[in-house]
Amino acid sequence: QERKKLVFATEGTFPPFNMTRPNGELYGFELDLLAEVAKRADFDYEVIAQAWDGMIQGLVDGKYDAVIDSVTITEKRLEVVDFSLPYTTGGSTFAVMKETGLELPGTGTFVDLDDTAATERAVAAIAEVLAGKTVGVHVATIQADFLNQYLADKGVTIRTYQTGPEVYQDLMNGRLDAGMASVTNISAFLEKNVETAMATGPSFKGGVMGRGSAIVVQKGNAELADKLSAALKSMSDDGTLEKLSNQWFGMVVTPKL
């Protein structure tokens, strides 16, 4: 008896979450994660590559059943689609070039945006250093929301880019003084540029930083969302999720569900 395959879409260009081999094969943290989820939830699936433009429209139109592409849960997105439980909640921080000598206070600490007092203190300290400087960020991300909400009115110029990697490119070219991105993303960048660049400032979580990344399903497809969430929960419970995180990121960016 044949079971219907679930179709997942991903971009295949976002290391180390999802990447493509020259022969078109997809691999990465999210692919491994999905394999495990499928095993536990007991479904057949295939993954197709799809450009980011049109990714969600395709989902809404039913060209595929779910999207797994490091998508962060936000209120606005919830109006259009539904999410599973989150599988990463790594914070966000800043990257700078070493030669500029710029350094932010609070490196290595965590700041929870739900804790208003702590947030204000941390932001004030950063703003002092960044005033008059330009910070780049990937457009319409949680990091962009953060910058707009906390730093835009404190003399920091914010410049938004259509893709993540371009932020680093301009950082290296000297057009930006700092870039902001998720810790996972920045660590991938630093892997190649450890000589010249570094991460700095505290790691922000909670609040506008959202509730982490999750698998996206069509609005109202609770059945699938629940199935995926249950599998993720069991992976979190038995430590598989943490193991995968360590394997791909060298640190734990996954939540305790």
């Binding site: 295949g12 197709i48 590559a49």
Partner: protein, 238 residues
């Protein structure tokens, strides 16, 4: 610059993938351009020789397909096309499910955009044909078709070919937009490779080279056509 081995044909090289993507770019472009040429000729003809409603219709078509950003046309074809096809299929009582392939949607979308542009190029070229030579064709009793085929088209070529060359180039580059439909053409392959390896420049440069190769080859075709079209021509130039 990154590691050139990444562009090779080994198991870790992207050479083969890029080659395949290049061929797909070529295939989509050729199909779209020809589709645009056929439609564009018709539209130009309607605008020049059609009656009032036909002319206005052709004008509206041109305005819309030239004016709406290409990406949206592709969106509408890819996402809307499926609904249309399904509706038609269901109405005909055919068993589903229905879908429109990415290739077909992309080709049609780019072809339609291009047809609007090509019709303008052709219309301009038609107007540059000396009226006397058209009259000379009419007085020998040529039908519209013969007149077009034997007198107007060969002369209009002279002005049209550079403009059509432009259109062909645009089509090649617009073909990059069909990646939203899931087709892995050059631009998509380049961004996949660049994203995965984090070697942006290497792969964008490689992409530029692929486009230049396609251009060079197709330019030869246009150059040849141009040479042919110029036979006997004693036009200006600076």
């Amino acid at each position: 610059m990154g590691d050139l081995a990444l562009l090779g044909f080994g198991p870790d090289g992207w050479g083969l993938a890029l080659l395949r993507a290049g061929l797909l770019t070529l295939a989509v472009s050729v199909a779209a351009f020809l589709c645009g040429l056929v439609l564009g000729t018709g539209i130009a003809w309607a605008r020049i020789a059609g009656n009032w409603p036909l002319r206005k219709l052709a004008e509206a078509y041109t305005v819309i397909f030239r004016g709406v950003p290409d990406i949206l046309v592709i969106y509408l074809f890819y996402f809307g096309g499926r609904q249309v096809v399904t509706a038609i299929g269901t109405a005909l009582g055919l068993p589903g499910p229905f879908d429109i392939s990415g290739f077909l949607a992309g080709m049609l979308a780019i072809g339609l955009i291009s047809s609007a542009n090509q019709s303008e190029v052709l219309r301009g070229a038609y107007q540059a044909v000396p009226k006397g030579t058209i009259e000379a064709g009419r007085v020998v009793g040529m039908t519209r078709i013969t007149l077009f085929r034997r007198v107007i088209a060969p002369q209009a070529m002279v002005t049209a070919i550079p403009g059509m060359g432009n259109q062909w180039q645009s089509v090649i580059k617009e073909s990059a937009l069909v990646s939203v439909t899931g087709l892995v053409e050059t631009m998509r392959q380049v961004s996949v490779a660049a994203g995965t390896t984090q070697e942006h420049f290497l792969f964008y440069a490689a992409g530029a080279v692929i486009y230049l190769i396609i251009t060079t080859l197709s330019d030869q075709v246009f150059r040849l056509a141009e040479k042919r079209s110029l036979r006997g021509h004693a036009g200006g130039g600076i």
